[in-house]
């Protein structure tokens, strides 16, 4: 219930509204600007003369006859074969998410139900692993992978991403399974189920909200990964993020910056849709570790 005193406009309140509005503009404006600019030619998007060119597209009209052009997208997707990188990312993301969730649910469930000291040590080790910069691990992979001749292919990257993802998945699902009452699977075991049957028939049907939330973050990790894919994939297997980086190197010289802009917008678009549909799950996932401590 908002009382009259609470809904009165005070200077403090006015300040906090302005502050929030300012943040929202800072958060959203770069995306809007880049999205709008991706339908212009480079002379407009990076216009030194007049920033309004990027809004109205003076040069775009001069060069193409219309204020909007999909030239950058055509160049990125067809000429530079960006769709191919998208396909690679699709494969990597799909398998990383499925395998991490399978491993993570089993492990997270075991950790949540075991009170032994070693369960705690595994969680501690996972926390330390979670903190390590990915590149420090990658420098350990390269030599052995060259030696075994598995460098550059998608399965290697998938399994590495699964492993790097495990510490986070374990923590998240562990705290999630802790919230499912112990009585549920224990009563199933009293009725004669084995531990695995209890897991399969009692826990699995109720675990999906937590698994979906964790899956979203596994998706983000695999989709957004640059370090691992850039070091472990050969050029023909490149995923989107390293591809954008190599775009920057080659297209800057040829004056095709717009290709990279179109690729960046194409990369952000799926995330935009993801937030649109899963905002609630993402928010609950971000705070899952925090609120329960």
């Amino acid at each position: 219930m908002a009382t009259k005193a609470q809904s009165r406009m005070t200077p403090l309140k006015l300040f906090s509204y302005t502050f929030v509005a300012l943040w929202l503009i800072i958060a959203a404006f770069p995306f809007f600007w880049t999205f709008w600019g991706s339908f212009k030619v480079q002379a407009d998007f990076l216009s030194k003369a007049d920033w309004r060119n990027a809004l109205y597209g003076a040069n775009t009209i001069a060069q193409t006859g219309s204020a909007f052009t999909a030239e950058a997208y055509r160049g990125a997707w067809i000429d530079e074969e960006f769709w191919f990188n998208f396909k690679n990312t699709g494969i990597v993301v799909f398998f990383t998410v499925v395998i991490s969730l399978t491993f993570g649910t089993l492990g997270g469930y075991a950790l949540a139900r075991s009170g032994f000291r070693y369960a705690f040590w595994i969680l501690m080790a996972a926390l330390v692993f979670r903190a390590m910069p990915h590149i420090t691990l990658v420098s350990g992979y390269l030599l052995p992978f060259f030696e075994w001749n598995v460098w550059g292919i998608l399965p290697t990257t998938i399994i590495v991403l699964v492993a790097i993802n495990q510490p986070f998945t374990l923590w998240m699902l562990h705290s999630f399974f802790k919230n499912i009452p112990k009585d549920m699977d224990e009563s199933a075991m009293v009725d004669g189920c084995t531990r695995f049957q209890a897991f399969r028939y009692v826990i699995v049907p109720v675990m999906w909200p937590g698994v979906i939330t964790t899956g979203l973050f596994s998706f983000l990790l695999a989709y957004n990964d640059f370090t691992v894919a850039a070091m472990l994939l050969s050029e023909e297997n490149e995923t989107i993020i390293p591809a954008i980086n190599s775009f920057m190197g080659t297209t800057q010289v040829e004056g095709k910056v717009m290709y990279a802009v179109a690729a960046v917008v194409s990369t952000v678009a799926p995330l935009f849709v993801l937030i649109l549909f899963f905002q609630r799950q993402i928010v609950s996932g971000l705070t899952a570790g925090a609120v329960k401590g």
């Binding site: 929202l24 692993f129 979670r130 992979y141 492993a163 510490p167 070091m231």
Partner: protein
Amino acid sequence: MKHRTFFWFILPTLSAMILFIALPIVSVFVQSLFVAHEQVLVVSESCGPFGCTPTTSVDLEATEKLREEAPLGRFNGLGTYFNRSHLAIAEIGEAWASSDSLGAFWSQIYNLPFYNALIFTLTYTFVVTPAVLVLGLAIAVGVNNLPRALKGPSIFVSLLPFLVTPLVGSLILFWMVDGDGVIGATIQKIFNDPSLSLKASTALTWIMLIVYGIWHTLPFSFITFYAGLQTVPDDTLEAAQIDGASKWQTMIHVVVPHLMPLVSFVTLMLIMDNLRVFEPIVSFSAEAHARSLSWVIFNDLRESGNPLYASAGATSLLTIIIVIFLMMPVLVRTWRDFTRKSH
């Protein structure tokens, strides 16, 4: 749960972590102990009418064979750790002896690659983290006061900078602050200096990277604090109001203490993520003025044709030690919490 069942449940995840996280650390350590083979030199005497002159040439075949036999290189012990590119003990001693003021000593240290990267990484982490904590709390309080209909959309808008990968996010900002971009060009016009570029000076590059870091991580602290604000008990707030506390006093004495556990959680996550700062440096092509530890490792591995595995390994291991050292307080606290709970 029985030990046996626990073992089978944990096996897949544990073996993934051991094979691809624990063993690579061992592999990093091993490779940091070796350095690349020197080329095999053959001295042959070419004798002419005016006597014999010894000439040295590289025996390619023998070098190749040596590399084949021992791909790790030759054993170097901890030598890599103490050389100029890493801990640089000898150089520091020299700098200490030769420089007459602390400032001169400091600038010599700053020119050593490892310390240079360390200084940037720590500065970045310990500027971005507190800034994000304070600003995140302010925005969370602000959004919490908004009318109900506006809360969802503002969270939606805020999520994007956080979920977009750093490489892409910093590219988006880079195109704006670049000399030709909307912000860059406007700044040049304001100061009437067409050569002014955010990339040109060290200070501006650092500021740009730090601003990027705040923009990227602010949503995380904002959303966590916002969720925490929902759990502040109304009774306590009302009691504070009845006792005559102003809005500001309520904030400092009721809300902030209630959020304290969240603050330590957010700090931990932020420190972990900020310490690995790397992609923005690639996107902004800022390596001339700012290098982080991760960037140095990446650069060693990318060294075209001849990756410096030993150097990358040594830097990686030092980085891991620094990360664990910084996390120690949290690990110790979690350990205490656990032992207290189990007794």
